[in-house]
Each structure stands twice: as C-alpha cells, then as structure tokens.
C-alpha cells in the first residue's frame, strides 16, 4: 500500500511537471504573437474608410479628438483618407466610375443622382426609420427633397444647425478709403473710380484680386448678368449666363480693370494662399468673395498696421440701378456623403450618421470632446477658454482650431454648427453676417440644382463638354487676348454648343420638383 502511494505521488508529480512545461513552453513560443491583439474591446469597433476632398482653408487631420470621440460613442473607427480639394474631383470621379468607393465618400448632389442607379450607394431612404435625428433635420431643410432620385435618397447632405451668414460680398480696405478720402462706392462705376484712385496712390498694388474665376458667379449676378447656370428668382427659371448680352458688360468691365492694371494679372491662376497673401500684405485692397476671409486678412494686416481693415460694403448697384447679392444658401446641401452599398456594417454607419445629426453628435462634430475642448455653460456648449487661447495666435484661428480638433464643416460635421467659430470669430464676422442678411440686395442662391434623370444627366454631360472649352475664353476676354468684338460670335458658339438646351433641361427638371 505504501508503495502504491509513493508511485501515485510520483506519477502526479511528473504529470504536473509536464503540464507546466507545456504551458510555459507554449507561452514562450507564443510570446511574440500575443502582443498584437491588444485592443480587444467588448465589441470590435466597426472600421470604415472615409474619403472626401480637403479644403485648403482647413487641413484634414487624421487622429483628431473628434474621431476618437466618435469611436467612443458610436463604436465606429473612421480611417480618414482626405484628398486635396483640387484633385478631389478627378479622384472622386475615378472612384465612382470604377465602382470602387470606400465605405463613406464625399460626393456632390449631382454625383448621387448620376450614380444612383449603379447600386453602389446604400439606399439611405430605406433606413430612415432608424434615423430620427435626420428626419428632424429634413424638416428644417426642405431643399433636401431635391436630393431624392426616383423617390429614393442615396446620400446624406451637410446641413446647417447654426451658421454665421456669409456670402460672396464686396470687401474693401476701408482704411485706405478714408485715407484717400474716398466715399464708399455704391455702384460698379463708383467702384471703378475708387480702384483707380487706389492704384494712383499705390502704384505697385493691384487693388482688385481674385482667386481664379470663383468670383464670377457672384460678380456677374451683381452686375445683372449670370455665370454658369444661374437661377432667376424673379422669373423663376434657370438661365445660362455667359451667352447673354448682359455678360458682355461684365467682360468689358473686367477687361477695363485688367488693362488699367486695377485687376491683379494673376487673378485667374492665383492659389488661395497666394491671393490671401496679397490681400494680407496690402498688395490688393478689394475682393468679391467669401466675406469671412477678411477676418484673417485683418488680423495679419493689423500686426503691422493697426488701422488696416477690410470691411464690407453694401452690394453694389448695377447699371440698372439694382443690387443683387449672393448669400450662401442654407446648409451645404451640395456636399453630401454617400455610403457604399458594399460596406460590411451599414447599420452601424447609419446609426453613426444619425447620431451626428442629433444633439450629441452635432456637439461633438462641431465642438470636440466635452470637458476636453468644450463645456456646457448655461445650457449652451462653449469652447473652453484654454482651447481658444491656444489657437488665438494662429493665422486663421478658427480654421486651425477646427483642423486640429477635427470639427466643423470642412472636417466631418454633417449638421454644422458654426457657434464655435463665432466664439473665435472676430466680431466683424458676426456683424457682417447680420449686415448681409439685412442688405437690400440680399439674395440667397439656391443650394441645389434640381435632380436630373439619367437621360438628362447624359445630355447635360454631352452639352457641357462642348461648352466648357468655350468657357475658357472668358479669361481671354478679360485679359484681352480675345477681343471683345468677338463676344457675339462666342455667345452664339455657346448657344450652338447647347447652352440653351442645358437651360431647357434645368428648367424641366426644376418644374418636376415644383
């Protein structure tokens, strides 16, 4: 019996030895590989790829607090793939054409309509019952209905919760006006005089500068014409701007400015930064573009010259004595996000977007992380003073802040609240917002073009490819390499290329929606 006991204990000892050996041996060999599975949350987060164009005004950063917070709250990990704005159009088209879109892609309303039938987009309207917040937003943005293609919604628009009203407006160095004892111009003709006077006083300057042709739509409208497909709110119809006789006036005016060296010779090709620099360093004194830029120019100018100031002047009267402004529409409905139909976990993404349309999500995507970047004060979220301090000295405080935090329109927000910007903003900006709205020439441009059928889209493509090369001649007219006497011919060329037909399509489409 004693012997048996001894044998049993020995056997047990050996067994335990073996087991522990196997265990530790196994551990030793598996040591290396075990390190990789560190981040095992209870549910693995849904990882999605998100691509959009990057606006040069605000760089898109990838590991921002907002992205982290979105992961926290919605269990969705966003892998951002921003593309510089200038390239984005092409890139986007390639992705769409090759049916190779990531989980979330930033597109324009037109793209949604165009590619809706390919089935590459998730049909958002099917999930509307899961999106209570978005439904609420839809009520405040009636134009969203224009996004529906054949009764279905394929993309999510960027909506507005609160916006400091902005617009493309005439902004001028009022300090120089004072210096030169000039009156504020009230019409385009007066503008010409003022610019001339400025040039005389500052011969090295080019008083009027633009960043390419983006000013043309507002400028032409202001002059009583139009540029591209323009909406006539009085006649309630769309028209093509360039082939109308009124346009000649615009070209003539600008050509005069160019010839007299009042218009920056690089106006057509300035990068925004370049253009910013010129306006910030007193090489130009007037621009007709987004009024909010002036805030930055002012802060830069005032570093050297505390008196320097860009300010808004009321919309100028055109030759017919009317002023027509150009205010940014409600929301940014042109900018949409579409979800790939191939995505693995659509519900998670839908839920995330709906959250972003709601109170909490909207707060996060516009303010950042509570207690880290903002706090609730009197029931209203406010950026933390420490955060504001941090960015106050940057060249473009609001944009730099939003870039770092990952907030705002130009980052991920779909229900934009510009209040943080307001906090950081120059009081001028707020003032301008109010002034713009109350300007007699105040006019909100439509946010969205009407939605087209496939046939219409094809036709539009057909015509626009013919008209675009001709449109390039606008610069030539302005610079003078194409004589203005050729205008009529050019206009009829445009018509021949299909400008009227484009108009017709637009108006038909519009009628359908109405």
């Amino acid at each position: 019996m004693k012997r048996k006991m001894i044998w049993l204990t020995n056997l047990l000892l050996c067994l335990t030895l073996l087991l522990s050996a196997c265990g530790s041996g196994g551990n030793a060999s598996n040591d290396k590989t075990s390190n990789n599975n560190g981040d095992n949350t209870q549910n693995a987060p849904v990882e999605i790829r998100w691509t959009r164009g990057e606006n040069p005004a605000q760089a898109i950063k990838e590991n921002t607090p907002v992205i982290k917070e979105i992961l926290n709250k919605t269990n969705v990990k966003i892998n951002l793939e921003p593309v510089p704005g200038s390239n984005y159009g092409d890139k986007k088209r390639v992705l769409l054409a090759s049916n190779n879109i990531p989980d979330v892609i930033g597109i324009e309303a037109g793209d949604a309509a165009e590619f809706a039938d390919t089935g590459m987009f998730l049909t958002i309207s099917d999930y509307l019952d899961q999106m209570p917040n978005f439904q609420k937003v839809m009520e405040t943005h009636p134009e969203i209905s224009k996004l529906f293609v054949n009764g279905k919604l394929y993309s999510l628009p960027i909506t507005e919760k609160f916006k400091i009203q902005g617009g493309k407006a005439p902004m001028i160095r009022t300090d120089i006006l004072e210096e030169l004892q000039l009156d504020y111009p009230t019409s385009f003709d007066e503008l010409y005089t003022v610019l001339k006077a400025m040039k005389e006083a500052y011969p090295d300057s080019y008083p009027f500068s633009t960043r390419g042709l983006s000013f043309m739509d507002a400028f032409s409208l202001g002059m009583g014409s139009g540029y591209g497909m323009t909406y006539d709110d009085e006649q309630n119809r769309y028209f093509y701007g360039q082939n109308k006789p009124e346009f000649k006036e615009v070209l003539t005016y600008l050509n005069k400015l160019y010839n007299e060296k009042l218009l920056d010779p690089d106006f057509a090709v300035n990068t925004k930064q370049n253009w910013d620099e010129k306006l910030s360093t007193g090489r130009s004194f007037f621009y007709y573009d987004n009024n909010s830029f002036a805030v930055n120019y002012n802060s830069t100018l005032q570093q050297n010259d505390p008196e320097a100031k860009f300010d808004r002047i009321p919309y100028l009267n055109n030759s017919m004595g009317e002023a027509k402004g150009w205010l940014y529409p409600k929301g940014w409905l042109v900018d949409n996000y579409a979800i790939s139909s191939k995505t693995k976990n659509p519900e998670a993404i839908i839920a995330m977007f709906d959250w972003m349309y709601g109170e909490e999500g909207s707060m996060v995507t516009n303010y950042g992380v509570e207690t880290e970047t903002f706090e609730i004060k009197d029931g209203q979220p406010q950026m933390l003073p420490s955060v504001i301090e941090k960015y106050k000295t940057s060249s473009d405080p609001a944009r730099v802040m939003m870039s770092e935090l990952g907030t705002g329109l130009l980052a991920l927000a779909v229900h934009v609240d510009e209040s943080p910007v307001k906090q950081l903003s120059d009081p001028d900006l707020v003032r301008w917002g109010e002034e713009l709205t109350s300007d007699p020439g105040a006019y909100f441009v439509p946010g969205l073009a009407p939605s087209f059928t496939e046939e219409e889209s094809d036709k539009l493509k057909q015509y626009t490819t013919k008209t675009s090369p001709l449109e390039e001649d606008v610069v030539k007219f302005i610079i003078g390499t194409k004589p203005l006497s050729d205008f009529d011919q050019w206009a009829s060329q445009l018509t021949a290329a299909g400008a009227d037909k484009i108009e017709a399509i637009y108006n038909d489409a519009m009628k359908r929606v109405q």
Binding site: L17, G25, S86, R211, A268, V269, N270, T271, S395, S403
Partner: protein
C-alpha cells in the same frame, strides 16, 4: 532514528548509487542546452530571413514611389502645355498669360497618379512664381510661408536651377505650412526647355516612407537607418538612438554585398543588422534588431528548460535517495549477516568490519560461504563414499545389516550409485605385482598407480553396467555390478576380457587374476556373490600371469583357506572391543571351518598373526614388545611346521590376549597423527633411496592409499609431491655446490631414472637442472668475488 542515520550515513556504496541516478541529468542538461542554443539560432535565422523579405518588399515600395515620381516628372516636362507655358514671367506673352490655367490643369493631372503619397508638388522657372496644382504662388510667398523649408531660404531655391542636375534627391528636411510642419524628402528634377531650366519639386513626407516599413517598425523593437551611397545618414526611425555610431560601426563591418544577418555591437548592445540596398535611389536600408529581443523570446524557453532541469534535479535527488535507501538497506543487511557469519568461521574481523558493507567484501563473504559449502560438500561426499565403502565392506565380511541399515544402503545405492536393478554381481580382481614393478618404476609413481587402480577399473567398466569398486584386500579389488536378475554375465565377462587386454602389455610388471561371481539378488546377495568370486579366485592354481575364472557351483576340490577381509575385520573388531573369550571362540570357529585345508593351515596362522601385528602397529605399538620371544619363530615362519596345532593355536591366542592387554593401556593415543608423523619422518630420512612405501604400509598394517590420504589430511600435502620436493631441494643444493653430473645427482636424491629426474625437476622449478645450475653458478661466482 539511529537506524535511519545509519543508513543515510555517507558511504561509498550509497554515494555511488546516488550519483548513478544523478548522471541521468547529464543527457538532460545537454539536450536542454542544445535545444536552447538551437532555438535561439533558429529563431534568429528565421527572423532575419523574414525581416529581410519584409525589407525587400518595403524598399521595393520605396523604389516604386521614387520611380513614379521620376516618371511623373518626365511626363510633366514633356507635357506640351508645360513646354509652352513654363517660362519666366517676363517672357510671357499676353496669350500665354491667358492660358496659364492650363498649366494648372497640367500640374493637377501630373500629380494625380502620385497623389496618394506625395505631399508638395511645385515647379518654378524663375524667382517670380511657383506653380502648383492649385494655381500660381508668388515665389517669395511660397518658399517663405506656404511651403517653408526650415533649413533653406528662398535664396537656396533660386540657386537650384543652376545646380540641380537632372535629378536630385534631398535629404529629409523640415517643411512648414500654415497648418503644420513635417519632415519631407524632396525630389528635384530639372529640364531644359529652350533657354529655361524649370525645376519640379516633389516632396514625400518621411512619415509616409516609414509607413511602408510598418511591418518592420510597428512592433517597436527594430530600428532603421537609411544611408546614402557615401554612408552618410539620410534618415532614421528612432531619433533617440545613437545613429551616427551605429552607421559607422555598420559601415566598418559590412562589405557592399547584401548579407542577411551580421551582428554588431553598438554602445554595448548587440544588434543583428539586416541590409538592403536600393540601386535606383542609391540608398542602403539597415534594420537593427537588438539581440536582446531573441534572448527575450528565447528566455521563455530558457526559463522553461531551466525550470525543468531544476525540477528534474530535485526529483532525481528524491528518487535517488529513495531508491538508494531501498537498494542499500538490503545490501547492508546482507553485509551484516555475512559479517556475523564470517566471524564464526574466520575469526579475523579487522578487515571485514570496516568494509563489511562494501559490495566487494560482501562478494568475498559470499564466496567464502560457497567455498565452505563446496568444501563441506566434498567432505560430505567423502564421508558418504566412506560410508558406502564401510557398509559394503561389512557385507563382504558377512555381517548382517539391520533393517534400517539395509534400507539406507538400498536408498544410497539407488540415489548415489544409480543402482536401479535388483541383481548384484561381484567380480574380484587380484593384482599381484612382480619384482620388476618395484625395481623399474619410481616409488612415487608406484604410489600413484596403486592409488588410482580402483578408479581405473571403474572407468573401464562403467560402460558395461553400473558398478561400484571396492578395495577388498591388498591389491585386491572387488567390482560390484548392478545388473538385472535375468541378465547374463556375458557383458561383464566381455568387459573383463577388455580389461585383460589392456593389461596384456604390462604382464612384466604384474599378474592379473579375475574371478567373476554369480548374479545374486538383493543386498544380501552382494556378500554371497563376493564369496563366490573369492572361492573362484582361490581356484586359480599356479601363477599364471593372466587368468579369468568364473564361479561355478561345486568347484573347489581343494578347499582353500578362507580368510577373508571380513574375517580379518571381525578379528580386529574383537581385539579392539571384544573380550578374550569371544576372541578364543572366533579363532576356533575359523580354524574349524578351515580344517579341510590342512596343508595350508599355517598360512592361516600366519595371516592371523599378521592381522594382530598390524593391529598393534596401527596403534604405534611395537609388536616386538608384545610378542614373546620364543613364540616369535613359530608365528613368523611361513613354512609348515610340524607342531601341535594346539600349541600354535595357544601361542596365537596368547599373542592376541597380550595385544588386547596392551591396547587397554594405550588406547587413548591418537593413531593417525602419530602414524602420519612417522611416515613423514621416514620419508625425510629415506627419500634419497627408493621408498618402499608398500613395505611400510605392510609393516604398519595399512594400505599405501591410506598412507597418502592420511598424509594429505594431516599435512594438507600430497605425499608424492612432498617426496619429490624433498628430492628436488636436495638436487638444487647439489647443483649449486657441486659439479657432479646430473645423473649422479639424480641417483643421489633417490630418483634412479634420469629422465624422471629431469621431468620432476622441471615440473617443480620451471627450469632444467643445467639451466638452474647455470643461473645459480653466476650468482655464486659474484658472491665468491665479493668475498
């Protein structure tokens, strides 16, 4: 407790067993070390290989980037728009200015393919403008603000189009934009377009490059250094690391070939270096993996092995102790037992006690036991033999055995002699030696012959049947055959004939008379058959050299004297133990039974007298003392005397009575020891002559065989050997001291045959007498010289 202490006491045996268990660990340790080193080496190799592959793939990606950039730049400069519009500001025509947006489009298009990894994309041809894909920037604005190189100012760039060769790759530099700053690698290409030399700059952020090496760098263990053709550092993944020293060390260790794993030491740490060269860029990529890493991984298995070894050591120790105890204790007990028993036998403990537990001595002890056992066995054999001899002898004599004795005898015969049959046949062989036997054969050899004769007969006849040989008289042997009752004596007879044939050549030395008796039944039949053979033997008349006689009933016209050994023994017994009346009665009886043999009665008397005389000599009593002088002549004479029987009888009886009286006086003296010493003395005094031991034995009334046996028992020495030795020693003396020839010496020592002498000498000394003389002569001469 003491017992425990006892057994655990350190002791050679115990330690030996313990160590033999522990030696089990040696292969384990060897194996463990081998496994460990193998594992580490294998891992290193595996890792280095995998790393190399990763490196190759990643550097390939880097190369791809570079190639794409290069291609882009080539495409860019061949773009007709670029060719047309890329010129200094002052050279532009108005038309060209109007078309500048096309340049922007071209740049955008060129950038498209490399957009995923490229950071900055700019071109310039003068100090006025820098073109990017988003438009035109003023030169100063661009390099001082929009894309500011921390280490270079705009001056630097304006020199570029003087100095940039066709392609130049700038080392990583820090670039700041409005939003952030980062390290980029700038790839500059220049082209000649007309009088102008536009420069295209494409930058890739260093982070993007490192991202390509993610699989290598991600675990955070490896470090990478990139060096250019001149072994100057381009960039490194870990700024905190001693990159310069590392590079220098690597440079000195490496040749320009690619190698997979070379170990270098940097700042006291060992690293394995993996190198990949890229021809296109001209950069070398080095990955440094600290050897610690492998050891850390291997530490797992190392710990495992060490733990296992330790545990096994411990376990072996436990087992060793356990088993040692278990094996050792019994051994110790055996040792103790032997120790105790050895004291009984040997009495000398001094060596035994100390190492009694030693296996060797235990073995010795066991051997002793076995030896003693065999000794006793031998003695037992001898005793048994003697018993059989004795009993059979009694039977011959005519004594009747008790029932017990008969039973024992039967059993012994059956078991020891394998006498399975019921019938017995006695065959008596009488061997009479002739004169020549004593003169021509050396005494020593004579003894041997006489001693071994019985064995000879046994050996010869063994085939025929189971037999037993007895010596029943002087040179008289009886062979008792065990045959079945129904068998004939033909086989025996045939055997005897063979025997006779054997001896036929030796008739010069002896006479051989063989008498074959009847087949009789039972143990009693043995004596009957014996008597028959004796009477048959006595019928042999004359002195033929050789005769075989068979017993037939009703032979013997002349009744011979029957005075057998048994009769003789009976007499001896009576002389020893009986009283005078019995002796008288027995003698009368004997004489009466032999009264027919008138003519040979005096032979009987002589024989009886001999018996008495021998009786005395055995007891070391001189018969002369006992014998009355006047009676002597009567008794000793062998001639027939015409005298009154009565007188002769009376004389004999008187002699017997006196003998018995004498015995009563001196019966306490040990016979055999005295006899043995007598013999020895006789030999020592007479060895130089031919020893007639037969004469002695006759005088003393014993057989030669008895003398040899007695001698051996007493002195533990063969008598023949003893005699030879005495002779050889004397011969040696003579060889040394005299110059006598060998044959003379031989005769002087008592060996009358020279050949025999040489043989004997060589047997005992190992050398021949002459050689011996030579050897000792030399010594003696030296000795003489010294004197």
């Amino acid at each position: 407790m003491n017992k425990l202490m006892d057994s655990v006491r350190v002791n050679k045996l115990f330690v030996k067993i313990l160590f033999s268990f522990l030696s089990f660990l040696i292969p384990l340790l060897l194996l463990g070390t081998l496994t460990y080193t193998n594992f580490v080496t294998d891992r290193k190799e595996e890792y280095a290989q995998k790393l190399h592959l990763d490196m190759l793939s990643s550097t390939q990606n880097v190369e791809d980037y570079w190639r794409k950039v290069y291609e882009t730049s080539t495409v860019f400069f061949s773009d007709p728009v670029v060719i047309r519009l890329m010129k200094p500001k002052q050279d532009w025509s108005l038309q060209e200015i109007a078309d500048l947006n096309l340049l922007q489009v071209s740049m955008s298009r060129a950038k498209f393919n490399i957009n995923s990894f490229v950071d900055g994309f700019f071109a310039y041809v003068d100090n006025e403008y820098v073109f990017t894909d988003s438009g035109i920037n003023e030169y100063d604005y661009f390099f001082n603000k929009f894309y500011r190189y921390h280490s270079y100012d705009s001056e630097f760039w304006s020199n570029r189009f003087e100095t940039v060769r066709y392609m130049e790759v700038m080392k990583p530099t820090r670039v700041g934009t409005s939003f952030d700053s980062k390290e980029v690698i700038t790839f500059l290409t220049a082209s000649q377009i007309g009088d102008n030399k536009p420069v295209l700059g494409v930058t890739v952020s260093v982070d993007k490059i490192w991202k390509l090496f993610d699989p290598i760098l991600k675990p955070g263990v490896n470090r990478m250094i990139v060096a250019d053709r001149n072994q100057q550092m381009v960039m490194s993944s870990d700024q905190a690391f001693a990159n310069e020293t590392a590079l220098r060390t690597i440079g000195s260790t490496f040749s320009t070939n690619e190698s997979k794993d070379i170990e270098v030491q940097i700042n006291g740490e060992q690293f394995i270096v993996n190198q990949v060269n890229n021809e296109l860029i001209g950069w070398s990529f080095y990955t440094l993996t600290p050897v610690e890493e492998f050891n850390r991984q291997a530490s797992g298995i190392y710990n495992f092995i060490v733990t296992l070894c330790i545990v096994l050591c411990f376990v072996s120790l436990v087992f060793a102790c356990l088993f040692s105890y278990r094996i050792y204790t019994p051994i110790r007990r055996i040792g103790e037992v032997l120790e105790n028993s050895s004291t009984e036998w040997n009495g000398d403990n001094d060596v035994a006690t100390r190492y009694s537990h030693d296996l060797q001595h235990i073995g010795a002890g066991i051997q002793r036991i076995l030896f003693h056992q065999s000794q006793f066995q031998g003695q037992m054999e001898l005793l048994a033999q003697e018993y059989v001899d004795y009993v059979l002898f009694q039977l011959m004599k005519g004594h009747s055995l008790s029932d017990d004795q008969t039973e024992n005898l039967q059993r012994i015969l059956r078991t020891r002699l394998d006498f399975q049959e019921d019938g017995f046949l006695c065959c008596t062989i009488s061997l009479k030696f002739k004169n020549r036997f004593w003169t021509d054969i050396q005494d020593v050899e004579r003894i041997i012959i006489e001693s071994k004769m019985k064995n000879l007969f046994y050996g010869l006849m063994r085939e025929k049947a189971n037999l037993y040989t007895l010596e029943t008289g002087k040179s008289q042997y009886t062979l008792i055959f065990n045959v079945s009752l129904t068998a004939t004596s033909e086989t025996v007879k045939g055997g005897m004939q063979e025997l006779a044939d054997l001896f036929s050549s030796d008739t010069q030395f002896c006479q051989l008379h063989i008498a074959i008796g009847d087949i009789c039944e039972g143990v009693d039949g043995i004596s009957k058959s014996y008597r028959n053979s004796i009477s048959a033997l006595h019928q042999i008349t004359g002195n033929p050299d050789f005769k075989i006689v068979e017993f037939t009933q009703g032979s013997s016209s002349q009744a011979p004297i029957i005075y057998t050994y048994s009769d003789e023994n009976k007499l001896l017994q009576l002389l020893r133990f009986g009283n005078k009346e019995d002796v008288e009665q027995w003698v009368e009886e004997l004489l009466r039974s032999n009264k027919d043999a008138l003519y040979s009665l005096d032979i009987l008397y002589t024989k009886l007298f001999e018996t008495g005389r021998r009786f005395l000599v055995e007891r070391s009593i001189d018969p002369e003392k006992v014998l009355r002088a006047e009676d002597k002549q009567y008794l000793l004479q062998s001639q027939p005397m015409i005298s009154k029987e009565d007188t002769r009888q009376q004389i004999l009886l008187n002699f017997f009575f006196d003998t018995m009286d004498q015995i009563k006086l001196e019966h306490s003296s040990p016979r055999s020891a005295e006899l043995a010493s007598t013999i020895k003395q006789y030999v020592e005094n007479n060895y130089m002559n031919d020893l007639h031991l037969e004469k002695i034995s006759e005088e003393m009334g014993v057989t030669v065989k008895y003398i040899s046996r007695l001698f051996k028992e007493t002195y533990d020495f063969n008598i023949t050997g003893f005699i030879s030795e005495l002779r050889v020693n004397k011969a040696k003396e003579l060889l040394e001291t005299t110059n006598l020839p060998v044959s003379t010496i031989s005769a002087q020592v008592g060996i009358f045959d020279r050949t025999t002498f040489l043989r004997t000498f060589k047997k005992l000394e190992g050398v021949s007498p002459n050689e011996y003389r030579k050897q000792n002569r030399i010594g003696k001469e030296d000795h003489d010289d010294k004197d």
